[in-house]
Amino acid sequence: MAMEVTQVLLNAQSIDGTVRKHAEESLKQFQEQNLPSFLLSLSRELANDEKPVDSRKLAGLILKNALDAKEQHRKFELVQRWLSLDANVKTRIKTCLLKTLTSPVPDAQSTASQVIAKVAGIELPQKQWPELIGSLLSNIHQLPAHVKQATLETLGYLCEEVSPDVVDQDHVNKILTAVVQGMNAAEGNDNVRLAATRALYNALSFAQANFNNDMERDYIMRVVCEATQSPEVKIRQAAFECLVSISSTYYDNLAPYMQDVYNITAKAVREDDEPVALQAIEFWSSICDEEIDILEEYGGDFTADSDVPCFYFIKQALPALVPMLLETLLKQVEDQDQDEGAWNIAMAGGTCLGLVARTVGDDIVPLVIPFIEENITKPDWRQREGATYAFGSILEGPSPDKLLHIVNVALSFMLSALMKDPNNHVKDTTAWTLGRIFEFLHGSTMDTPVITQANCQQIITVLLQSMKDTPNVAEKACGALYFLAQGYEDVSPTSPLTPFFQEIVQSLLTVTHREDAGESRLRTAAYETLNEVVRCSTDETSPMVLPLVPVIMMELHKTLEGQKLSSDEKEKQSELQGLLCGCLQVIIQKLGSSEPTKYVFMQYADQIMGLFLRVFACRSATVHEEAMLAIGALAYSTGSDFAKYMPEFYKYLEMGLQNFEEYQVCAVTVGVVGDICRAMEEKILPYCDGIMTQLLKDLSSNQLHRSVKPPIFSSFGDIALAIGENFEKYLMYSMPMLQSAADLSTHTSSADDDMTEYTNSLRNGILEAYSGIFQGFKNSPKTQLLIPYAPHVVQFLDSIYMEKDMDEVVMKTAIGLLGDLADTLGNNAGSLIQQSLSSKDFLNECLSSEDHMIKESAEWAKLAINKAISV
């Protein structure tokens, strides 16, 4: 048997597909027939130094996958499965795992480390495996360095896997002691030191108490700083990563170390290898993030007693920090602008400079201007590009007053550079900087406009000309035009863009047809800019949007003609269809929002819908998300006329609702269900059986991403509101689901922010469903069908009120539902509400809310309740 496992594991990695498939089949069978014995064999395989390393590695991997999964629901199942295994079997498996840590084979050790951490992740929160940390720590004192290394790695994984609150402080102290000792310069073995440094990175979140203790903190910081000076580059990099993590986790405790850390980082930025230098820059970016957050919380009020004090590290370091960052800007890498994934010291330095500008505002300007002035006309492209990049980087943060003068001086220089500079990088950065100028210093909120009657024409001419440049430059020019248009979004009725509107649209369309529009995401940028130009069109220019409709429709039509496409071509086709459907969506929304354009536009509705349906038909199994979004917008414009498209559209709607894998598509489709309910009202009725069936299936599915479930509940409300008492037949299915979801949502202990947010969105969905149902039945003779559900609704409202963790949206929906309940059920609800634990307090709290939406709903509820209890 044992031999057989080895062979099967090896076969499962065979190049021969048949052999591999057979082996996978055997493993599956084994697992299904006898899980405990399967897992035990795998752990023995992993622990056995006589077995081939490949079979051991795979055995470990399968074990790991038997303990954890990405998908939340699957993960939960695996945890339950492990916990229910026979204790004896688990002990034997764990013994094998711990034994493997001492193996001389590094691959086996490191696989075992990860598996141990997964088991710990399951068992420690259950207060099981209490001896684990003790036995790991005893390994630390063993002689062979590789055991020490494997143990430190295990501790690192363990800290990553389990939450700090399940490890007691005594163990935390011991883990940190072991880890920091391992990092110490006295440790002769680099592998051990590296493993310890990486372990510290994960253990930092456990070190809250230790960081509050001056002596312990000093010690940890000293060891980390020393590690940044190690001769081994990987250790230096790992040590800087620790510093970055400390900068955000323990910002409050950093003050005594900032001078030293500045010296260390400055040296690394100037002299060290790129991976280390990048982390050193990241340290300062991370400090900026912290201070931006803190200052944002302060608002304008500097006397506020914020929980977190701002130490103004960036402001203090400014005179030294800025020159250091400016130096990095000159370390550009050739062709970085053609490479989407490029990341280097110059880019990191510019990003950091931008964050510094946002942190300190005006103070940065005088420190950067001399650099710009000195370099911007130099013959070396690196200096011109660096100067331009510096300029572009500091445009967000300082006040417009501080920047306007230099921007006005620079603008014509930039326009000319964009036309004439011989270097592609310089032009790329120049176009980007123009975009930043328009993004931050142009728009109706500015007192002094950067773009004036005098220069508007020139700016637009240059940008349109630049859109014929190489793809990367043209893409940035499109981006600049995007923000230029956005700045005019609320001028009315005459926009300075009006005279150029047609030329701009034409130029953008020309860009989309460039042979090389696939490079540097140029085509996407051109359509995005076109979308923004359309969104910002005024009463004057929106009639000029109309002729775009047949143009984009024709483009979309062309994508449907290709036959027998390769999978690569199919992907391109689908991407282009996405852009075109997106553009149509924006156009539909724009033209549909004012009467005159809407009526003219509606002549195209049938054809557009026909095209969308054909886009859907291009694919066999999935629906196109962008086409679905566009249909939602179209339904809103057509109103109840949308009914005529339903016979053909329905199957795609169903398909979208069935798309568990691409949950975004499912979510978008659920949103469209709401759109068509509001558009068609009771005409949706014939399709409701099918839609409700799909939605109910979605809700019961464990595969569907949980984020889609709250909107599904909301769509119950949309349907009920549309079809009124006809919702009757769905009550027996939907109400129990709502009830159990409601119970679930009140019994979650919200461990983290994500969970709290999800719980709130789930509650909101449930409340919206109830609201729609109650309002839908209002004044119907069938109202009494809802009476049996009312006590649960009141109870649900009570319990979410008591838990005191609702956000404003939930509060508004909840108090509205209380009103709906009273409104629809009258005195049947009146007595329930009067007897309820907290309705009165809840209502009073909402009535005195600062939030006008809550107050509005509360006043409505008050009216309805007063009526219900006075009857």
């Binding site: 990486r198 970055v244 993590s245 609320d490 109840s640 119907s780």
Partner: protein, 418 residues
């Protein structure tokens, strides 16, 4: 160890337009869901049943494309005004929107004043209807002339990007423009975001007005895209404290009397006894009619409409006849049916029998200024008459409240809210 996330190179766009489209769609859906919910709640609170709304085809939003729908016979559209439908409401944007609900003058104190009525201090100024739609806002006076044409923060009141903005979305507000602080005081809400509030009770309209107006930013200070400030007025339940508050309380505007609105009344154009106005010298500069120079007239004047048969009528429906001109006079003066004529009430005054007008001693003065489009209402004539002879005093109002409170010792039914 997890690699530290690299920062996104900030020369690349931070957010994709697709994500933006997705978010804008979600936003649009949220707004529409909210609108639908609000509409349901609003409808539910009116006397109309949901069924009557459902039976009305809502599919005809596009109908207005067809020219003949414009020429629907007047009586039909009149008959349909009971139905809450966007189409009907949208017609109101035209001529009908000029028709305001006109309070009668309070010549006696209604029963149950403290239970069924609201009271508020009427701002002095020009009564007008304000319509926001299609990116602009227009205010019109009662005679239909435009007071202002301006951008405002009301829904669809200025050309800004509004994802929730729909073609049908528009608002109609009943306002008083107060000259000295250049503010529109909103005293009633007729349509909001395309939903008619005509058939909603005053209770609901005021509730809606108070909660909705604030949310738009229309109450904010004027700006380039919001030329005039809007402001709600403080509306009180007409109990003792509410009445006192409206009478004596400080308000940011010059008061011109008190307005009383019946809580259960719908918005009804033209004169209605379910809204009442009352004044005395303490809360209005204009209690007794004055001439164009602001001098109190020595004798009460009335404006009456000349009818086919020579009779002189008020603007009420049904009309009240005050007297008759003989044919000869009419011919001599070149008067025609429909003319508005001004009279003095001479020494003979008004003769009342059992509270009804028996005889009026009228003295013809001439035609009125062309800007006038309505004759006086019966209640106005009577109120002016009383002011000069036996005014209805504030103490009378207070007394009637405490009297009715004594009589109806009903428990308060608003236990929920204290």
């Amino acid at each position: 160890m997890a690699p530290h996330d690299l920062r996104r190179p900030f020369k690349r766009p931070a957010i994709s337009d697709q994500q933006r489209r997705r978010e804008l769609s979600l936003l649009r859906q949220t707004h529409h869901r909210r609108d639908a919910q609000l509409q349901a709640r609003c409808l539910a609170s009116s006397v109309l049943s949901l069924q009557s709304r459902s039976s009305e085809p809502v599919s005809d939003v596009g109908v207005e494309l067809v020219p003949k729908s414009e020429s629907l016979p007047e009586q039909e559209s009149g008959a349909l005004t009971k139905d809450l439908d966007v189409r009907q409401a949208s017609r109101l944007k035209g001529a009908e929107a000029r028709k305001l609900m006109l309070p009668e003058w309070m010549i006696d104190v209604p029963d149950r004043l403290s239970h069924d009525w609201y009271v508020f201090a009427r701002p002095a100024g020009k009564r007008c209807i304000v319509v926001s739609s299609n990116g602009t806002t227009v205010s019109r006076l009662r005679n239909g002339s435009i007071l202002h044409h301006f951008p405002s923060a009301l829904p669809c009141g200025a050309r800004t990007r509004d994802v929730s903005g729909s073609a049908q979305s528009y608002c109609i507000l009943d306002c008083i423009f107060h000259e000295s602080d250049q503010t529109y005081y909103v005293i009633d809400m007729v349509c909001w975001r395309g939903y008619s509030l005509y058939d909603c009770t005053a209770e609901f309209r005021f509730f809606w007005l108070n909660s909705k107006l604030e949310e738009t930013g229309a109450c904010g200070p004027p700006s380039h895209y919001h030329k005039f400030r809007f402001s709600p007025v403080s509306i009180y339940s007409c109990d003792q404290s509410g009445l006192l508050a409206s009478y004596t309380g400080a308000v940011p505007y010059v008061k011109d009397g008190l307005l009383f609105y019946n809580k259960h009344a719908h918005y009804q154009t033209g004169n209605t006894p379910l809204a009442l106005v009352w004044k005395d010298e303490n809360c209005s500069q204009y209690v007794i009619d004055t001439d164009s120079k602001g001098q109190v007239l020595s004798q009460q004047q009335v404006v009456l409409e000349l009818r086919d048969d020579g009779k002189l009528s008020t603007s009420d429906d049904p009309v009240v006849i005050f007297g008759c001109l003989d044919g000869e006079v009419i011919q001599m003066s070149g008067l025609r049916s429909g003319d508005l004529l001004k009279f003095d009430i001479s020494v003979g005054g008004l003769t009342l029998v059992d509270g009804k007008l028996e005889k009026a001693d009228l003295h013809y003065l001439g035609k009125v200024n062309r800007a006038r489009i309505f004759a006086d209402s019966y209640s106005k004539v009577m109120f002016q008459h009383m002011v000069r002879h036996t005014p209805l005093k504030f103490e009378d109002l207070l007394a009637s409240i405490s009297l009715s409170d004594d009589q109806e010792n009903k428990p308060c039914d608003s236990e929920m809210v204290g």
